[in-house]
Amino acid sequence: MPIDAKTNLLLPPTTGQARAKAKFSWTSDHGILRILGIVGIVFVFALPLINSGNYTIQLGTQALIYILLALGLNVVVGYAGLLDLGYVAFFAVGAYTSGILTTRLGWPMWATIPAVILMCVIAGIVIGGPTLRLRSDYLAIVTLGFGEIIRIVAQNWEPVTGGPSGIFGIPSWSFGGFTLNKIQLYYFCAVVVLLLGCFGIPRLAKGKLGRAWKAVRDDEDAAEAMGINTYTTKITAYIIGAVWAGLAGQLQASFISVVTPSSFVFLQSALVLMAVVIGGMGSVPGVILGAIIITLGPELLRDVWENRYLAFGILLLVVMLARPKGLWPSTSVLPWSRDKRDHDAKVETPAKSHDYDPQEEVPS
């Protein structure tokens, strides 16, 4: 048996060579995607220079935090295919952990990062451990319940969480006596979101773990047959999603300096899920677009109509009817480019022959 001595694996007789990469061009779909990315990053960093008004910066920071939150949920829903309706629970855990440690114990904001990560990992295991044995709809219902439990605990555990009035006076980020003001905090959020969300998540998705997530999403049994432990794979997705949400929660706490239970209602979970779904599940640029829509949408509609959430809802309905896979589906490079699935497979179909030998079919 040709077992490779070094890897101790059964390897194919000939190793396949990767195809020569097509020459990169700025006018191809991938080139345009790159241009859009660069324009986006430049815009994010130039925004305070264009308009440093309080409203613009507030909205910008909020949008960035939601992008991080939606990218985290994208790991759970888009890659691993686990419908989570209580995602905002981890956002709350992150916000409360950093809020409590900074106001009650006087820790600087940066020092609470390990605590936030730890608490989110614990919360992820506590919530995910028993529920991830369930499939699809059941999982959605249970996560919905857990999301509400976290909010109700925050509301009623007065000595620690401050009850319905929450925790206030949460300090901004400070590094050795230098405290970030609003605009600096905006830049800080932008860097964090860019590193953790925009570059980190797609990289994770490209490796072994990302492939395992997608395999579990597409067919759990087949994934198990490929040697993928579906349970640990799912819980890893859940924990990574939880930590991302927790860090977003920490940014949120330092940004608005108040944490109250009313900011973690089911509507928040639904909004973030909506960002993922209308953007395009599993598509990073799509999810970013979705997060921008859910933060800016209601704001832009503010002057249009009093019942702006109703208008927003109708708009979303239209989007889902027109583009059921999302505005920027993961199966196409650009929103308007051809679906990768329509690409013709260059496979020679073996000639169909129906000349069965009847004697072959029956045991004689």
């Binding site: 396949g16 072994k208 597409d218 087949a222 496979v347 022959s353």
Partner: protein, 308 residues
């Protein structure tokens, strides 16, 4: 004509365990509620052989496969793979031990490219932590390069010649079958279970499949296949096990199976003239009637007990 491979020249017996036996199933029983799908089945698979499991529809073939690969937990009985008991082992662990399988109805990952589908097979064989991917470390690039080469190599091996970047749903059925086999080979198996690999294939594709199975055997991998296509089974099997009502009714070479009266009966049904079997069946029926009477009496007695 058992092939001896994996470096063994003769049947090595160490610690009282026959090293030449890859898989042994003893007294396997699988019940679903009142239905007994597998009823005390026995089989062994030797290193390097091609073994076929055949039988009429509903004979319990796929249930046996699901028990062996860990998807069902058998009601009773023992399954030993590489001399280790695996009846309570997770399917992913069994794959890690060196057993791979394909499914009766193609189960490829529909929203992944062909290459990514095949790459998933290497999951348990590669060490790569998530932070390696996150930081794009040199070790990440090295492992990804290895995964890429190996996956492409197996695609080449199974004779896939198209564009491996497209999604699997874009491929014709026969090609999808090949991709599924490449994916299973990627897990580095010693034993490969193929569940109806020829289903839905045309004549030319079946010929290619036979060639491919022989090529896999030449690598030293043992193959167990469930198949309905008798031409294919008789052509490539070294041994055949015939299942009926969850029990093996015959084991032997294709020639022996071809002429076995029990097998012919299982497939074509007993003829009127075969008196001995016919009366046997009647006796069984009578026994059943007696049981039914007993059960009815019990039911009649029940309400009195429940009355209080």
């Amino acid at each position: 004509m058992t092939h001896i491979a994996h470096g063994t020249t003769t049947a090595q017996v160490l610690d009282g365990v026959d090293r030449n036996i890859l898989l042994s199933v003893e007294n396997l029983v699988m019940r679903f509620g009142g239905v007994t799908a597998v009823d005390g089945m026995n089989m062994t698979v030797e290193r390097g052989e091609i073994l076929s499991v055949i039988g009429p529809n509903g004979a319990g073939k796929t249930s046996v496969f699901n028990c062996i690969s860990g998807f069902y937990r058998p009601t009773s009985g023992s399954i030993k793979f590489l001399a280790e008991e695996i009846t309570k082992t997770r399917p992913s662990e069994i794959t890690k031990m060196g057993m791979a399988r394909t499914f009766q109805n193609l189960r490829l990952f529909k929203d992944m490219s062909i290459l990514d589908n095949v790459k998933t097979g290497l999951h348990s064989r590669i060490k790569q932590h998530w932070y390696h991917a996150f930081l794009h470390t040199p070790s990440f690039k090295k492992t990804e390069h290895f995964i890429d080469e190996t996956a492409r190599g197996w695609l080449e091996f199974v004779g896939f010649s198209g564009d491996e970047r497209v999604y699997v749903t874009q491929l014709p059925y026969g090609e999808q079958r090949r991709v599924e086999i490449a994916r299973a080979l990627c897990t580095s198996p010693q034993l490969l279970l193929l569940d109806e690999p020829a289903a839905g294939l045309n004549h030319a594709e079946k010929r290619a499949l036979i060639e491919l199975i022989r090529k896999i055997q030449a690598l030293g991998v043992s193959i167990v296949l469930i198949e309905h296509d008798m031409g294919l089974v008789m052509d490539i099997s070294e041994r055949i096990i015939v299942l009926n009502y969850g029990k093996e009714i015959a084991v032997g070479t294709p020639e022996e199976i071809r002429s076995n009266p029990l097998v012919i009966e299982a497939y074509l049904g007993a003829e009127e003239g075969q008196a001995a079997d016919a009366t046997g069946a009647d006796v069984e029926l009578l026994a059943d009637e007696a049981e039914i009477d007993e059960a009815l009496e019990e039911i009649e007695a029940e309400p009195e007990k429940r009355g209080h």
